[in-house]
């Protein structure tokens, strides 16, 4: 027991001494230390930046899942990967509204669904003010319930608006400002193209979105689904659906696919010309992609750490041979092999830690950089704590692994030979 305590205290002393000694060595050889640790710095900086980007993307997707609800299912036309429709023009595979009639009866796992159209960009005006390039979406009332875009003033679109093909609309607050409308603008007529629509409500601003697409600068107007066909005859239709629970979301996807293959007359053996994706699906896809990116990045990082490690080993060998007399002296005054080994091992680990620290600093700079690139959805990029831990862990491991050989070499030196060196 006493022996163990002594050994621990002895190690602690040596540790403390060696850390200070190696820091002063690193400081004394600044240029050399910087050049040596560049490999480590690059490795750590890139791994932290990649992890930061992925973490940011994931955080973003999770926020998205919160606004959309994880039971949401997206249905879109899609060219099959094989078969004659591979290069089909989009209008030949577009959805027709009636292809979804009766879907709820045939798909027991689907709670509700809503069709929506993208009626392109239009110029919207109120009195003398007009705003160009406003995106117009026609939606069925159920879309409101699936995608949570609360109405902060007025009322949402209703089934009656839909049935009577009313010319009513929901606008967002930005458009209200741009058109110089009153705060309470309910009932005001605005012109969309050449058609007059009456405002029935104001939506909350759009949350930052990955899938909703488009940039934040563009205003949006929601009008009833059927009304949108008045603006344009042929429209691109997409469908939002919601499964009854997260557990049956896969069932719901299967049911929808089966249903759509029938209504779209796809013969057995032919590939789908549409896709049904759940948010869970997207999340899985993201995770898969993140894994691949992580693996590729780890490969690159591994190589740079290897190169960095060889650099460390090289410099430690130089250090050992430069300080041969010092080693001889330390042995002469009573340093054991283990003490010399510890000293040089700690020196190489400290060197790597310094590299790791600088690398994390650069990684933070890179992260701030990518977070500020406009129009790239990486503004939530951040370095998680565990990534810092991993960076230090790897730096330390590289230090121990590549410092071991030089340290053993130092420990094995014969004191007399060492003192006679040079």
């Amino acid at each position: 027991m006493r022996f163990i305590m002594r050994a621990i205290i002895g190690f602690f002393r040596l540790f403390y001494q060696s850390v200070f000694l190696s820091l002063s060595q690193i400081w004394a050889n600044k240029t050399r230390s910087i050049l040596t640790t560049i490999g480590i710095v690059i490795g750590v900086a890139s791994v932290t930046a990649v992890i930061a980007a992925l973490s940011g993307l994931k955080a973003k997707i999770l926020t998205q899942v919160e606004t959309l609800g994880s039971n949401t299912i997206f249905i879109q036309p899609k060219r099959p990967d094989t078969g004659p429709l591979q290069h089909a023009p989009w209008w030949s595979i577009r959805f027709l509204p009636e292809q979804f009639d009766g879907m709820l009866e045939h798909c027991p796992s689907v709670k509700r669904f809503g069709r929506q159209t993208w009626a392109g960009s239009q110029t919207v005006s109120f009195r003398e003010k007009s705003v160009e390039n406003v995106s117009i979406r026609g939606i069925e009332p159920d879309c409101h319930k699936i995608e949570s875009r609360p109405v902060m003033l007025g009322r949402p679109l209703s089934v009656i608006d839909e049935m009577q093909v009313r010319q009513v609309c929901l606008i967002d607050p930005k458009l209200r400002n741009d058109l110089r409308l009153d705060r309470d603008c309910i009932g005001q007529p605005i012109l969309i193209g050449h058609n007059t629509f009456y405002i029935i409500g104001v939506l909350e601003p759009r949350p930052e979105s990955l899938f909703g697409g488009g940039d934040q600068e563009r205003s949006e107007i929601f009008i009833p689904f059927k009304t949108s066909f008045k603006l344009q005859r042929y429209l691109y239709i997409g469908v939002l659906a919601e499964s009854k629970s997260a557990e049956v979301s896969e069932d719901a996807r299967a049911e929808i696919s089966f249903f759509l293959r029938r209504t779209r007359n796809i013969k057995p053996g032919e590939p789908d010309n549409f896709e049904v994706m759940s948010l869970q699906n997207l999340l899985d896809m993201f995770n898969k992609m993140a894994l691949i990116v992580t693996m590729v990045a780890s490969g690159i990082v591994g190589i740079s750490l290897l190169v960095g490690g060889v650099g460390i080993m090289n410099i430690m060998l130089v250090t050992v041979s430069e300080r041969t007399r010092e080693i001889g002296l330390r042995k002469a005054v009573g340093a054991k092999k283990s003490a010399i080994l510890t000293q040089f091992l700690i020196e190489s680990v400290v060197l790597c830690f310094v590299g790791g620290l600088v690398g994390i600093g650069f990684g933070q700079l890179l992260t701030t950089g990518i977070a500020n690139i406009p129009k790239v959805e990486l503004d939530m990029a951040y370095i998680p704590l565990w990534a810092i831990g991993i960076s230090f862990g790897f730096s330390g491991a590289v230090g121990i692994f590549f410092g071991m050989f030089p340290a053993i070499k130092a420990a094995r030196l014969d004191p007399i030979e060492a003192l006679r060196h040079e």
Partner: protein
Amino acid sequence: MIAAEADKPTIKPQGDKSVIKLKDITRIYKVGVERIHALDGISLELKENEYVAVMGASGSGKSTLMNVLGCLDRATSGYYGLDGQDTTKLSDAALARVRNERIGFVFQSFELLSQLTAIKNVEMPLIYSRNGWRSRRKRAQSVLERVGLSDRIKHKPNQLSGGEKQRVAIARALVCGPSILLADEPTGNLDSKTSESIMELFDKLHQEGQTIIIVTHEEFVAHHAERIIHMKDGRIFSDMPSNRKKANETEMYHEEQGRAS
């Protein structure tokens, strides 16, 4: 002055306790097929507080003897007892501990660590010592005082003169309270005046009770010692008291009494 060094007895010891006992020590180097007998059957006994100079032609085996005495090197055969303990069967780690606790080495070229201050250099052996950690600053300071360098504590080696460097090195050798102080040509890199002052320091340490062995080529250095051993071809050629000891034994004793108080 002496009281500050806690590990040393403050009274001059009687000098009948054996510190070093060598019996038929050989050290054979193999170079290719050739066998070089650097030490060829050395038998020697040293009592506590002896002051010995080792002389001899270059290549006669003086440094080899010092390395064996300092446990830096192992004898090829023979018995080496230090403070009554057989060192020939000790492990490397145990030898390191012996070097740390019982042997002080002084080198011709000082061997100070250039990036450390004088006091840090002196503290260095205490890092490796079992019970030297806690009071190391104080101990280093008192031993620097003992060698007359209390005003150069914060200087780096390149800010010190040759003589001062050697004093720091001697302080470092003394800091763990060794049984013997081994100096291999300690004045080899110094001019004669500085050499003389370093030798006076050795004299003083001897009076304080330190057992000392000095290797030297210079007569005037050797004559500070009380016993002179001549070596030739790895053997002891002659071993006799120095003139100084023979002539002035009683007179010196009085003089020492006067200086020490």
